[in-house]
Every structure is written in structure tokens, then in C-alpha cells.
């Protein structure tokens, strides 16, 4: 029993070493990569961030949000509107904050309701915003699309890396804090959490808003690579579905699982997207159904069950 804190300390050091090693490798990589690899690595970072930000809220609380595209798109539009006025890092932060405020409003109005209503609402939120923006552009500005100030691939890569590091650290620390505990208790039994003194609504709204910040900042960063945007690009529902799929595939309860899930599926998409666009979405549908039917814990679930079995065998032998 005595060595428990020590082993935990060692685990933490191991995680820290792995993490900083990974970040360091990612930081020097653009020096050796060709531009195409830099862009596809940036793409992987985007999906990891939106997957983590989705799972940050929806994982522990089990309130399934399908609104990531709304926050992502708001970030994109912030970039289009403020790109010429502000320096790039400020635009990115602003995109995050605008999304955060939108998420606060959504949260205040819907998170008092139980799970399914929330899901139903978020399901169409990005569609609502898309239609409103489209109407606004057609009636008020007379165009549909907008130009965004372009930024070179390498600065975008580093910006995404910074957002990624912040997101991973945030998810990691909140998972181990009192706040993360409160969040999980909401997911297990909202009523019991309420009776234990957890301010259920505040916890839900705050984490929902913060998770939207990451999605918005990512949107702002990415808009500078696309240079041309319109409402159907910015609020593409795929950005809502992908994080759900990627997190489910990797394992909703585990940060490592989410990172693996997002990386694998993004690379698979890169591989298939240009050649077989319909097959690739078809394959994703099959993967989603198969994971839910046969692998409730995702990839990390397999890993866990192997570890448990090995642990059991070890104990039986001694």
C-alpha cells in the first residue's frame, strides 16, 4: 500500500516525459518536412483538438453535443471579419472567445434541460446559424462568400500546435481536478451530484463554454488556410459529426484514446478523401456502428481488457 503514491508519481513523470518529448518532436518537425506533410499534420492537429474539446464536455457528462460545427464556424467567421484589423494571434483568441460566449448563451438556455433535449437542440444549432448567416450575407451584404487574410502553412502549424498543447494539458488537468470529479458525477447521476453540493448547471455551462473556446480558436486558425469561405463551408455538419465519431472510435473516457482515434481517422480520410469521397463516409458510418455494437470502449477499451486479463493471469500465477 505504501508504494502507491510513489508509483503514481512515476506514472505522472512518465506521462510528462512522453508528452514533452512528443511536443518537442512536433516543434522541430517542420524543419524536416515538405509543405504537404506540414499541412496534413496541421489537419491531424485540428481533428485532435475538436475531438478533445467535444469529449471534454460530452465524455464525462454524457450530454451528447452535436454543435461543434457551430463553434468552429463562428471561429472561421471571426477570422474573416477581424483578420484585416487585428494581428493573427489576437484573431485566434478572439475566435475562441466569441465561440465561448455563444456556448455560454446556448448553455444558459438549454443545459437546465435533460440530456436528449440538449442533443436535439445542438443538432440543429449550426444549421440555424448557417441559415441566419446565409440570409444576412444575401440580404445585407449582397454576396455569399468572403475572403480571409491568408497566413503561411508553417505559422499555422505552430499556432495549431500551441492550441493542441493547451487543449491536451487542460483536458488532462481538469480530468484530475475537483472540477473534473464534479463533471463526472453529473454524468453518473445528476440528482445525486446536486445533493452532494455540486452546482450542476454551473459546472455544465462552464465546461461547455471552455470546450467551445478550443473549437472556435481552431476555426479561426484554419480559416486563414482556406482563404475563401461561405456559410456551407464554415458550418459544414461534418465538423459536428467527426469529433463524435473519432472520440467514440478511440474511447470516450480516455485522452490517449481520443488522440489515437482522431489521428487514425484523419489520416484514413486523407488517404481516401480525394479518391473515393463517398466510400470514405460509408466506411466511417460502418466504423461508427461497429464500434457501438462491438467495442463499447473504443480502441482503448480493447487495450483495457487486455491489460485486465494480463493482470488477472499474473494474480492467478502468484
Amino acid at each position: 500500500m505504501n508504494n502507491f503514491p510513489v508509483s503514481r508519481y512515476l506514472t505522472n513523470i512518465r506521462i510528462l516525459a512522453l508528452f514533452s518529448g512528443g511536443v518537442l518532436a512536433a516543434a522541430i518537425l517542420p524543419l524536416f518536412m515538405d509543405p504537404f506533410t506540414t499541412i496534413s499534420a496541421t489537419n491531424v492537429f485540428i481533428y485532435i483538438v475538436i475531438t478533445l474539446s467535444w469529449a471534454l464536455f460530452s465524455g464525462p457528462t454524457r450530454y451528447i453535443s452535436i454543435a461543434t460545427a457551430a463553434f468552429f464556424g463562428i471561429g472561421i467567421y471571426t477570422s474573416a471579419l477581424a483578420g484585416e484589423l487585428l494581428p493573427f494571434p489576437l484573431v485566434v483568441c478572439l475566435g475562441g472567445f466569441v465561440s465561448l460566449i455563444l456556448a455560454l448563451l446556448v448553455g444558459l438556455s438549454t443545459l437546465r434541460l435533460k440530456g436528449m433535449y440538449f442533443t436535439i437542440f445542438t443538432f440543429g444549432l449550426s444549421e440555424l446559424i448557417r441559415h441566419s448567416v446565409l440570409w444576412w450575407e444575401v440580404v445585407m451584404t449582397g454576396t455569399v462568400g468572403r475572403w480571409v487574410v491568408s497566413v503561411e502553412p508553417v505559422p499555422v502549424y505552430y499556432t495549431m500546435l500551441i492550441i493542441l498543447v493547451v487543449t491536451i494539458s487542460f483536458c488532462f488537468f481538469i480530468g484530475r481536478s475537483r472540477y473534473g470529479l464534479a463533471l463526472r458525477s453529473v454524468g453518473q447521476s445528476e440528482e445525486a451530484a446536486d445533493h452532494m453540493g455540486v452546482n450542476v448547471t454551473a459546472v455544465k455551462i462552464n465546461v461547455f463554454a471552455i470546450s467551445a473556446f478550443f473549437a472556435g480558436a481552431t476555426g479561426s486558425t484554419m480559416a486563414t488556410r482556406w482563404t475563401y469561405i461561405d456559410p456551407s463551408i464554415a458550418f459544414n455538419p461534418l465538423f459536428s459529426f467527426m469529433p463524435v465519431l473519432m472520440a467514440t472510435f478511440g474511447g470516450i473516457g480516455s485522452i490517449t484514446g481520443q488522440i489515437i482515434g482522431a489521428t487514425v481517422l484523419t489520416l484514413l480520410a486523407d488517404l481516401l478523401l480525394t479518391e473515393f469521397p463517398y466510400y470514405y463516409m460509408l466506411i466511417y458510418g460502418v466504423i461508427l456502428v461497429a464500434v457501438i455494437l462491438f467495442l463499447p470502449g473504443g480502441i482503448m477499451g480493447i487495450w483495457e481488457s487486455i491489460r485486465k486479463r494480463r493482470h488477472k493471469e499474473l494474480h492467478e500465477n502468484t
Binding site: 438549454t110 440543429g124 446565409l134 459529426f241 463524435v244 457501438i292
Partner: protein
């Protein structure tokens, strides 16, 4: 704003409302009874529309007749999906909330699968066909015959379904399962069969709506999602699990949507959302729903 204009708006609203009511009742069966918030509902509408289109354009089969083929076929697909997917999820999920979450995600998978198979088969272009596209003059305004047929069929289907729920044994079993699944099972209702039947029947109604939509509007393989969203709003408007409420909710949405569409077509979806937002904030149980 003449009398004829009002007739036009009201008639258009009734047609749209009839369609939405069918779609909403279908989803209500799937969510209210089978507890699957089926986001692939719109894909079954799309399948119904494309099946009608293909049978008419390539084989020359009368759309009204083709329903006899497409309806049961789509019922069977959905029944099979329920048997293989949602039943298994129901058995492996510890709580009803977990089942709802997992089946929602699985139905997203189903959405991707059906939509992309349709894209592979029919291609992404907008399609349409002419059937009963003549018109008749009445009270100083013209009505398209296919719209009148669509409204009549939607009405007949709605009434027939309602009578079925009220006066048949299976209808009674469905109502019992909607109220309390476990008690219904204790009373001797074969819950497996009823849930599968409800899911299939919901898809059948979607197919019927798709068939009507294909006569009036243009169709594409990606047309399903907006209809799903409308159906969900209509179901919430009528009260989750209340089948009559969904019917009324669909009618209201159709009429409101058509009125808004007469002034600005781009805003009808926004109007649905505003209704939905107000509803969720003020009366989340729906207009006919019981207090939670």
C-alpha cells in the same frame, strides 16, 4: 393581398403540414415507443423518394403503384436495422439513458451508410420527374394536382394510422408500450415485436412522405437531414412520445413554414428554430405533453 393569395398560402401550408405530420408521426413512433432518436429518419424519406423516382423513370411504374413495392421494402430494411442494431444495443446498455445515447450514435452511422450508398448509386445531382403536374382552377387561384393528391394521401394515411392505433390489438399494444414498456411486457405484450414493428412502421411513414415529396419537389441524396431536423422539432412541439401531438406539431410547422416561405424562402428554417427555442425555454414538455 387578395383572397386568392390567402387561399394559396393556406393550401400550400396544408400540403407542407400534411407532409411534415407524416414525417413527425414516423419519428414519434421511433423515438416515443422504440426510444431511438433516429437521426437517419430523413434518409428513409430520401430512399422512398429515390425508389419512386427510379421505378417511374426507368421502369415506367406508376408512382401510386410503386408505393406497394417501396413501402414494404423500406419497412423491411428498417425492421432489420432494429433487429440487428438497436435490439443489441438495448440488451447491452445498462440504462435507458445509455441506450438513448448509444442508439443515437448508431443512427448517425446509419445516416452515413444510407446517404453514401445513395450517393454512389444515384450520384449527387438534383433529380425530379413530372407526374400529375397539371392544375385546376378553384376560387380564382390554381392548384397543382400533385399537391392535392399529396395532401389527400397524407390525410388518408394519418387518419388510417390513427384508427389503427385506436381500434386494433397491435395499436393498443403500441400505445401500451409507449406509456410504460415494462408494464406492457408484464401484461403480455411481445415487446421485441412491437418495438421492431414501430421502428419499421416509422420508416414506412418516412418512405410514404418521401414518395409524396418526390412528386412535388426536387430530390437529392443529401435531402434527408433538414427533414430529420423538422421532424425532431415537430415531435418536441407535440410532446415527446405523444403521437397525436406529433401530428399536430407537424401541421403547425408546415403552415408556419409556408407562410414564412412566402415572404422569404431562406428564413423558413430560421422560423422553425425560433419556434423550437421558444418551446424549449417556455414549455419543454410540448403543447400536448404531460408535465415531466
Amino acid at each position: 393581398m387578395s383572397f386568392a393569395f390567402y387561399c394559396d398560402v393556406v393550401f400550400g401550408g396544408l400540403v407542407l403540414g400534411g407532409l411534415y405530420a407524416l414525417i413527425a408521426v414516423g419519428l414519434s413512433l421511433q423515438y416515443g415507443v422504440a426510444r431511438v432518436l433516429n437521426v437517419s429518419h430523413g434518409e428513409f424519406i430520401m430512399l422512398g423518394a429515390f425508389a419512386t423516382y427510379s421505378l417511374y423513370t426507368f421502369l415506367g411504374i406508376n408512382p401510386l403503384l410503386s408505393l406497394v413495392i417501396t413501402g414494404p421494402a423500406i419497412y423491411f430494411i428498417a425492421f432489420l436495422a432494429h433487429r440487428t442494431m438497436f435490439n443489441r444495443i438495448r440488451k447491452t446498455s445498462p440504462t435507458i439513458a445509455a441506450f438513448e445515447g448509444n442508439s443515437l450514435l448508431a443512427s448517425f452511422g446509419l445516416l452515413f451508410i444510407i446517404q453514401n450508398i445513395a450517393l454512389l448509386g444515384w450520384g449527387p445531382d438534383i433529380k425530379g420527374f413530372h407526374y400529375l403536374s397539371g392544375s385546376i382552377k378553384l376560387f380564382g387561384t390554381t392548384y397543382a394536382i400533385n399537391r392535392i393528391v399529396a395532401l389527400a394521401l397524407a390525410l388518408v394515411a394519418g387518419i388510417a394510422f390513427y384508427l389503427f392505433l385506436l381500434y386494433t390489438r397491435l395499436g393498443k399494444a403500441i400505445r401500451a408500450a409507449a406509456q410504460d414498456r415494462d408494464t406492457a411486457q408484464l401484461m403480455g405484450v411481445n415487446i421485441h415485436k412491437v418495438l421492431g414493428f414501430c421502428f419499421g412502421l416509422g420508416a414506412f411513414m418516412a418512405a410514404l412522405a418521401g414518395f409524396l415529396i418526390s412528386m412535388i419537389f426536387e430530390i437529392t441524396p443529401t435531402m434527408g437531414l433538414p427533414y430529420t431536423i423538422i421532424a425532431i422539432i415537430a415531435v418536441v412541439l407535440g410532446g415527446l412520445g405523444n403521437i397525436l401531438g406529433s401530428l399536430i406539431g407537424g401541421l403547425i410547422l408546415g403552415i408556419v413554414g409556408n407562410v414564412v416561405m412566402c415572404f422569404n424562402p431562406a428564413l423558413s428554417m430560421v422560423a422553425y428554430y425560433i419556434i423550437f427555442l421558444l418551446l424549449i425555454l417556455l414549455k419543454p414538455a410540448g403543447i400536448l405533453g404531460k408535465k415531466a
